[in-house]
């Protein structure tokens, strides 16, 4: 009975603290160190891989149990394969997520969230050793489900939150060049991205994202965030391609 009362007191204390401490807007800017491995079966069974630096901007808004977040990422660089084969690579990703805290109160030491993400990926490669069919691209707009677990640790230097967010697609609209229509002057029916878009489900299209983050707040307004994001995208259609992306980022966040 005494422990139950103690739990209730802690719960309401945390709740009261959280009501007062909704962080509002948080903006985070981060340079990204990335490594990508890509396979385009239209061009080769080889994996092209390389370091691709970039940048990321995250905007978060939390109100009671609801967290809205908008993420933008851009990466560019050269990817290489055996025998001096290379390609220029570009990757752009933007995602809007809405997540709700579950079970424990948002201020609790252990938190769980579930939610949904609207995610857009635009990836392009230009293969240097190819002629006519040297351009590859994917546009993928996905509605994803997300699950997140977070643990909050308090110390004298501030609050540290370790979290892991997993995202998985429910349905996706994917556009690539039409099969065989890679050349610049062959405008086959449906070769434009908008016309080539088709709806795919798992396993035709798989996009799994897992982000492990460590955020340390020095004060109510400033935060340092280290994160590792693994993203796996696979299109198993007429034009098959696989992207494995590893990203490390260290960013600084401001709360307004």
């Amino acid at each position: 009975m005494r422990s139950f009362l103690f739990c209730c007191i802690v719960f309401f204390q945390n709740a009261a603290a959280q009501e007062a401490a909704d962080p509002g807007f948080r903006v985070l800017l981060a340079p990204v160190a990335g490594f990508v491995s890509v396979q385009d079966k239209s061009f080769s069974n080889l994996n092209y891989s390389g370091r691709v630096p970039g940048a990321a901007i995250d905007v978060e808004f939390t109100k009671r149990r609801w967290q809205h977040s908008l993420n933008l990422q851009f990466q560019t660089g050269q990817v290489e394969a055996t025998g001096d084969l290379d390609a220029s690579y570009r990757y752009f990703n933007t995602a809007y997520s809405l997540a709700r805290s579950l079970g424990s109160h948002p201020g609790a030491a252990m938190q769980f969230k579930i939610g949904a993400t609207l995610d857009y990926v635009h990836s392009t490669r230009k293969y240097q050793q190819l002629i006519n069919n040297f351009n590859a691209y994917e546009h993928a707009l996905s509605l994803m489900v997300l699950a997140e677990a977070a643990m909050q640790l308090e110390s004298r230097s501030g609050v540290t939150v370790i979290s892991n967010r997993l995202q998985f697609p429910a349905v996706s609209a994917v556009a690539q060049p039409a099969y065989g229509a890679d050349a610049w002057d062959v405008p086959v029916e449906g070769s434009s991205a908008s016309k080539a878009a088709r709806v795919l489900f798992v396993p035709g299209f798989v996009l799994v994202k897992n982000r492990l983050s460590l955020a340390h707040s020095f004060s109510a307004r400033s935060q340092l965030l280290f994160s590792y994001l693994f993203s796996y995208m696979k299109i198993d259609d007429k034009r098959a391609s696989v992207l494995n992306i590893h990203q490390l980022s260290l960013g600084y966040g401001f709360t307004f």
Partner: protein
């Protein structure tokens, strides 16, 4: 309890080690097989089987080729022998766009022009007809002689700027006619051929259809796409004679096709080398590049042009005429424009 835990822990470490070893061995084995001669043979055969667009016009039974060549690719074959065998297999397609490229070697079919008379000697033209004087516009050389201009486009891999093409057309616009020599032009960038041709048509016209593969079957194609060429002002509006030989291939073949049906145009020389269709490339597991024809080109009259375009007037240069410094194909063109 403690010793039991240790035993289980030791056992799990062993299992993990064996699993790691098995996974790495499997990965090595898979990689080695892909790079092995049989692996490269299967990959190359399959790329052509699924992507090559000209099976409907080639008398090749590709399944039979697999059976005929399978036993030639033993695991002990050297890289050069593997390259040579793959080259032999690809040559059965008799297609100048099909090629195999390694960092040190290239295998490409040359049967579309090598067995035939060259019908071209540029040294003779420069010395005996241009008298060692001509103007240059990008990849084009030309000379005006009386009421006729001689224009030679050596390769569509070389570009001419819009300004250079405009200056060329203005320089010849008042003449009775021009001779466009595309002999030994083995193609290049199709856009250069189209930009050049656009200076010699007077109105927008349907010049070809392109058929693009839509799947892995030999007869899987998207609907034929009509391709129109628009004139680029200023254009040349008088008579044109185009000189061709068997080495006019690919983009050059397209260029001749764009203009050959124009009533102002006469084509003189030999059959062109063909090469209708656009080549794509595929990179094999060992880094070699396999080039193949990925589309089919049909003329505006929906005729295949893969095997070349016939001239209006066949003309050939004999070895004795060439030795005497004569180009009877060029002489016929001059005669036609007089």
């Amino acid at each position: 309890m403690g010793s039991h835990f240790k035993a289980v822990h030791k056992c799990s470490k062993k299992i993990t080690a064996w699993m790691l070893l098995a996974v790495s061995l499997a990965a090595c084995k898979k990689n080695d097989l892909a790079h092995s001669p049989p692996g490269l043979f299967r990959e190359s055969w399959q790329v052509i089987d699924e992507r090559y667009a000209l099976f409907p016009v080639k008398a090749v039974k590709w399944d039979s080729v697999y059976e005929a060549f399978r036993d030639r690719f033993s695991s002990g074959l050297s890289p050069q022998e593997t390259f040579n065998q793959l080259g032999s297999m690809l040559n059965l397609l008799k297609d100048g766009h099909v090629a195999l490229l390694s960092p040190t070697d290239t295998s490409v079919y040359t049967g579309f022009y090598k067995p035939y008379p060259a019908n071209f000697n540029f040294g003779n033209i420069v010395k005996n007809y241009l008298l060692n004087e001509y103007k240059v516009a990008g990849g084009i050389i030309y000379k005006v002689v009386g009421q006729v201009a001689y224009i030679y486009y050596r390769s569509f891999a070389d570009a001419a700027t819009d300004a250079e093409l405009e200056a060329l057309v203005l320089a010849v616009s008042k003449l009775k006619g021009v001779i466009i020599d595309v002999r030994n032009n083995t193609g290049g960038d199709l856009r250069n051929a189209q930009r050049f041709a656009a200076r010699f048509i007077q109105s927008a016209r349907l010049v070809k259809y392109e058929l693009v593969k839509s799947g892995k079957g030999h007869d899987d194609f998207h609907r034929a796409q009509a391709f129109y060429l628009d004139p680029a002002m200023p254009v040349f509006g008088q008579r044109i004679v185009i000189l061709t030989n068997r080495a006019c291939f690919s983009a050059c073949n397209d260029f001749v096709m764009y203009l050959a049906d124009d009533p102002r145009v006469q084509v003189v020389g030999d059959l062109t080398g063909g090469g209708g269709g656009i080549p794509y490339r595929f990179i094999l597991k060992n880094g070699w590049i396999l080039q193949y024809t990925a589309t089919r080109t049909l003329s505006a009259k929906e005729q295949p042009v893969e095997n070349g375009i016939a001239p209006h007037i066949y003309k050939s240069i004999t070895p004795s005429e060439e030795a005497a410094g004569r180009d009877v194909i060029l002489e016929k063109a001059i005669e036609l424009l007089q």
